[in-house]
């Protein structure tokens, strides 16, 4: 029971970390919280279901197409909705919140309220350290999630593009003075944030099917992780995501399943009370 809860916690924790990285990237660079993050996660799930199950495309190709499409949609959202609100955080909050409701209802209209699910990548189960049998699909999700996180870390910490991202989140004006086209960077990073939501979506949906409103819980958890880890901190996302995944699953196993999602919020409130800047965040003046 304990071992399998920890394992479940790790799998979902990696996905939380991935979803949170997308939010964190956008917050760090643009100071915008995308309330439609969860709906984009769901959209990628629907896309991969549509291409793989309905059109018979190879599952890997379907996932990549789904991520690419959501990336483009993210760029479109930034261009049409977010860009005019620069300098007014309030309107970007309101616009993305409305967008999330619009998308939820559009999904409901198009796909219906039933859960949909893309095909599994792998079948069967593996014996983990002789402790328990664990679904191969979940193990694959864990590995895929960890791999995407590693790629994101590599891009941000080691490449020239990553340097631009870090420079802009540290000091926007200085980055501009050094020749960074921040408008284009905003567009790209918003698209990338959405693509990370999409990556989390395509990895997790074979395990947890998508419904029109399933994104709300995912997005909220991602927000909690971002606040927990400290706004804009990448390690914060990873540690926070794993922590939250573990706490939720252990709480569900040993305290109450109905309150699974509440445990995360309790942590959030505790963090806000004790250390508002988050675990890895620097307190702002």
């Amino acid at each position: 029971m304990l071992a399998i809860s920890i394992m479940n916690g790790l799998v979902i924790g990696v996905i939380y970390a991935l979803a949170a990285l997308g939010v964190s990237l956008v917050v760090g660079i643009m100071n915008v919280v995308n309330f439609a993050h969860g709906e984009l996660y769901i959209l990628a799930g629907y896309f991969s279901y549509l291409f793989a199950s309905a059109l018979g495309v190879n599952f890997l190709a379907a996932m990549l197409i789904a991520i690419a499409l959501v990336f483009l949609l993210g760029i479109l959202i930034e261009y049409t909705l977010i860009r005019p609100t620069y300098g007014n955080d309030m309107y970007s909050l309101i616009l993305t919140f409305i967008l999330s409701i619009v998308l939820q209802n559009a999904y409901l209209l198009i796909f219906g309220p039933y859960p949909n699910k893309p095909p599994l990548w792998v079948k069967g189960a593996t014996d983990v350290f002789g402790l328990f049998l664990y679904g191969n699909q979940r193990l694959a999700a864990l590995l895929a999630g960890a791999a995407v996180i590693a790629i994101v870390f590599f891009v941000v910490k080691k490449t020239w593009f990553g340097r631009i991202i870090r420079a802009t989140s540290q000091d926007r004006e200085m980055a501009e003075l050094n020749g960074v086209d921040t408008t284009r960077l905003n567009m790209l990073s918003f698209g990338l944030g959405c693509a990370l939501a999409a990556a989390a979506g395509v990895i997790l949906t074979p395990v947890f099917p998508v419904t029109p409103t399933a994104g709300v819980a995912v997005a909220l958890t991602a927000f909690v992780v971002v606040v927990l880890g400290g706004m804009g901190s990448m390690w914060g996302c990873v540690v926070g995501g794993l922590m939250l995944g573990l706490v939720e699953n252990l709480g569900a196993a040993f305290i109450s399943t109905g309150y699974k999602n509440v445990f995360g919020f309790i942590i959030l409130i505790l963090v806000l009370l004790i250390r508002p800047a988050g675990l890895f965040g620097r307190a702002k003046a």
């Binding site: 917050v27 100071n31 919280v33 309330f35 049409t80 909705l81 005019p84 955080d89 309030m90 309107y91 909050l93 309101i94 616009l95 919140f97 409305i98 967008l99 409701i101 619009v102 209802n105 559009a106 209209l109 709300v216 819980a217 909220l220 927000f223 909690v224 606040v227 706004m231 109450s256 109905g258 309150y259 999602n261 509440v262 919020f265 959030l268 409130i269 806000l272 009370l273 508002p276």
Partner: protein
């Protein structure tokens, strides 16, 4: 004087609202009663978002607190509904005070995130605590009067809405209202001229929460069945859409928005459950292209007011 004209106009509208339901059937009366609930919700949310720049996503949750507190007390403990509503209002205010104090220090984004999380927690608790709230089945609560009568409910709701609007109007047009605006426009500048930013924000949050709790309590005793639909993101979205479409940051905007959208919702419902999607699309376009809402649009295109004191030929009213 503009003030006199405004007062006269308000009195006329109020008189009109008093006679309006007399010739109407039960269904239009119901639509009007629900609209009045939304007027209270949207106006108080506007106090937060439009006047102090705090986008709360927990306003529907506050209405839920009012409704459930009063509902549980009256249905389970047999307390008079009016006292129940009073307790619900106070409870919502206290929760608002707590939430406000918790996250207002950190500014905009944190407030939105925490209120969103809070409304989800409340929703989960209500659905899970079946013994107390009867979960998604809904809790049956007693009516406000011995004999259920739509018209009496209409007048109660109208009186409540007028009372709330009067309080909000007074607040906005007082010194405090200026402080609200100052905090919204430039927090640092407001601080530097001695506005207690934190105090002003928490106060606005508490007042708005109390209004939502009050409106929610009344609404619950009107519906007679409280479900988790009240503290839901959908209701939160209605309130937001009404305010944004009507005109955020103006006093009349949310009132117009509440009536317009609620009546429109009933019309769209004839064709199916598309109203949320339609409102979302309208709200998206309005928030993007006309951030001051329909009222702002109307103000932009109406002829410029003649300067006070200078005699001019009467301009035909638009």
């Amino acid at each position: 004087m503009a003030g006199k004209k405004q007062a006269l106009l308000s009195a006329l509208i109020l008189a009109g609202m008093c006679v309006l339901p007399l010739g109407l059937g039960i269904y239009p009366q119901h639509v009007l009663i629900v609209s009045l609930f939304y007027v209270m919700m949207a106006s108080s949310w506007n106090l937060l978002a439009g006047y102090t720049g705090q986008v709360s996503f927990g306003h529907a949750a506050m209405a839920g607190i009012g409704a459930y507190a009063s509902g549980i007390l009256t249905a389970k403990a047999g307390i008079n509904p009016w006292i129940g509503i009073g307790i619900g209002t106070i409870l919502a205010a206290l929760v608002g005070l707590g939430l406000g104090a918790l996250c207002l220090k950190m500014g905009g984004i944190y407030l939105s995130l925490t209120t969103l999380a809070f409304s989800q927690i409340l929703h989960i608790i209500i659905v899970n605590e079946y013994d107390l709230t009867r979960g998604t089945m809904g809790l049956q609560v007693p009516a406000l009067m011995a004999e259920y009568d739509k018209l009496s409910y209409y007048y109660i709701m109208l009186a409540a809405a007028v009372l709330i609007l009067a309080i909000l109007h007074r607040m906005i047009h007082s010194n405090l209202g200026l402080n609200f605006r100052a905090v919204q426009n430039d927090e640092l500048a407001a601080k530097s001229v001695g506005v207690k930013v934190l105090y002003v924000r928490v106060l606005a949050f508490t007042v708005a929460s109390a209004v939502a709790g009050f409106a929610g309590g009344l609404y619950g005793h009107y519906l007679l069945l409280i479900t988790p639909e009240i503290p839901s993101l959908d209701l939160q979205f209605y309130v937001l859409a009404m305010t944004v479409i009507g005109g955020m940051g103006s006093f009349i905007g949310p009132i117009i928005g509440a009536f317009a959208l609620n009546i429109l919702a009933e019309k769209i419902r004839d064709y199916g459950e598309y109203h949320v999607l339609v409102f979302g699309l309208i709200a998206l376009v309005v928030a993007r292209f006309a951030p001051n809402g329909l009222l702002g649009l109307w103000k932009r295109f109406k002829p410029i007011k003649p300067i006070q004191g200078v005699k001019q030929k009467a301009v035909p009213s638009p």
